[in-house]
Amino acid sequence: MKRREFTGLAAAALAMGGLPLRGFADETCQSPYMPMITGHEEYIYVWTLGVEGMGDEQDKLVTVDVRPGSDTRGEVINSVSVGGRNEAHHGGFSADRRYFWAGGLDTNRIFIFDVHSDPSNPTLHKVIDTFVKDSGGVVGPHTFFALPGRMLITGLSNDDDHGGRTALVEYNDDGDFVATHWMPTEADMQGAVAVDGAVADGYGYDIRALIRKNIMLTSSFTGWSNYMMDFGQMLGDPEAMKRFGNTIVQWDLHTRQPRKVFNVPGAPLEIRFPWGANANYAFSTTALTSKLWLIYEDDTGEWQAKDVGDIGNPADVPLPVDISIAADDQTLWVNTFMDGMTRLFDVSDPHNPRMVYEKVIDRQVNMVSQSWDGERVYFTSSLLANWDKKGDDNAQYLKAYTWNGSELIDDFEIDFNALKLGRAHIMRFGSAALYA
């Protein structure tokens, strides 16, 4: 596989003035507004769900040392608990990368951690307890996507019926509410156009943007009544299984106005844009139908969506979860929760992705993050407290691998059950070099 040079685009994305360029290493799937780590990532922050009867039983931000040569490399070096369980889920840095915002899907609390004063030991800086009231009824703060001076947060649900109808919510960097943008619905399209018979469901999940095209995309999952239900019970409830999103919405990034609603059946989750200067597309995967989707600009300048391949055997419902695109846009890691497997797709031709590698990580797997150079790949385990597997299958971990271009080589592993930490969910990288 040819890997093209990407130093130029990395330099373009480096927004810190006055700093010399060193080597690049960073996770590849964050807001492009954000400064990147120069050099090796030093810490991994893991937003972790507390478990009743385990340790302090609280949600916590766990810091793992990954500094090369450190005596504590591969170990938990700090942990800050937040005083309760909130269904900890996703989080993201502010655009200046000084604070890490993390949400609780059940309590709707948002925790803002200071990660710049001492990147090895984050502290809880502020808690937003008024998300539902501020936003006018949005429930389930999910993706935190940084914009200059503010944070754009996707909701998963609402406090009216606890279904999937939801909105995007903006706060400023001080943690004060700015605005709510409700997702388009069939009854209120807000000027958006439904493509190929799509029915705007108003659901939400992930959000990503392609700045130079002024394009923003959002995906659609399910509401509180499902994501807080026992997984087995939900699978056996035909009515509950109808309450999943089937759309991806294209927005005008600048105005936050919806433009198109695409039909993407089966709960499209993560969205990833590539970094290339001429790469005008994004990938997503569908949880229930196990498909890889491409949202792309066609030859006429119109954006379209199409299914470009299966992930495993869709009939087995492997449940695709997190994905991670390489910084050179040539490969895409795709995790599937039920079989605990990661798969690497060659996406050098985005219209014809091809699986080139697969490996079972453990009995269950959810999140994947990779370094900017693609040589280090990290995995964590938890999906949702009530959806994780039971008993011995409930493996909870952070696992680190080296990718040598053809296979994943074991590096280190941290057992979150044995350390009585809880369920390991989203990972984000930290480094003191950002604040020198």
């Binding site: 373009a12 480096l14 927004a15 810190m16 003035g17 006055g18 700093l19 492009p32 507004y33 400064p35 655009a95 200046d96 000084r98 914009l147 200059p148 001076g149 503010r150 903006e170 400023n172 960097d173 001080d174 004060d176 700015v178 605005a179 700045i211 130079r212 095209k213 002024n214 005008d252 600048h254 105005t255 936050r256 106005q257 604040y435 020198a436």
Partner: protein
């Protein structure tokens, strides 16, 4: 001559020269726009921004936060209140330092502001409703004398009375500066040697009531986009 004397002398000579050259670049495309055309139409498209700005007034610019007040110094060395300067006009505010050499930092912000400054004469009445502010975050080197030298092409612009005012400001020191930076949310990291100052490039859109209505970073510093937002704010203020 000692180094600490050479640098300000060079700055006082080179900076105006650089911006006089920048000014010259602008004249090639000025004069082609219609007074009734959208503000954005007086700027040529840039290949970095592969979209047309939305129609002015077709969207909202919610209040992000109140901009901070503070004490600043103008090019005459007069102590002025920041809120006194921004009150009553829409402002585009950027924090810069004169010796910044990063192409994606202050020079990009300054180039964009100069684009807007020179093009503003094409938009009738704009100078009464919009102003530009640059505030130094390097007050030790960007003294009143240094910013006065920087402002040379503006002070000596024969058409300045047709263009938007440009307030070139510094502060008496870090004690006055830091609360302003904190209030805006402008991140600045100083290296121990003070020679390099790392910062995130930001331009802030502030309305006439001193409220921040948009924040632009790398990837958004397109004069067409900034001026579309300015036009949107002015349309809202005038009820059109």
């Amino acid at each position: 001559m000692r180094l600490n004397l050479i640098v300000p002398a060079l700055v006082s000579v080179l900076v105006p020269a650089v911006f006089l050259v920048l000014a010259g670049w602008q004249f090639g495309w000025l004069g082609a726009s219609s007074p009734a055309a959208p503000y954005a139409s007086v700027f040529p498209p840039d290949e970095s921004f592969q979209f047309d700005p939305p129609p002015a007034g077709s969207y909202d610019l919610p209040v992000i936060k109140q901009a901070p007040d503070g004490r600043v110094l103008d090019i005459d060395g007069q102590v002025r209140s920041l809120s006194g300067i921004t009150g009553g006009k829409v402002s585009l505010v950027s924090f810069v330092y004169l010796t910044c050499g990063d192409v994606n930092g202050c020079p990009l912000a300054m180039s964009t502001l100069f684009d807007i400054y020179y093009a503003s004469g094409e938009i009738p009445g704009l100078r009464d409703r919009l102003q530009l502010l640059t505030i130094s975050f390097d007050p030790e080197r960007d003294t009143v004398e240094a910013i006065d030298a920087f402002a040379y092409p503006i002070r000596n612009d024969g058409e300045a009375d047709q263009r938007v005012p440009w307030q070139v400001l510094t502060t008496a020191g870090q004690t006055d500066l830091q609360p302003i930076l904190d209030g805006y949310g402008q991140v600045v990291d100083r290296a121990p040697d003070q020679d390099s100052i790392s910062h995130l490039l930001r331009i802030y859109l502030v309305d006439g009531r001193g409220q921040i209505r948009n924040v632009y970073g790398l990837g958004l510093i397109d004069p067409r986009l900034l001026m579309t937002d300015v036009e949107t704010l002015l349309m809202q203020e005038s009820g059109t």
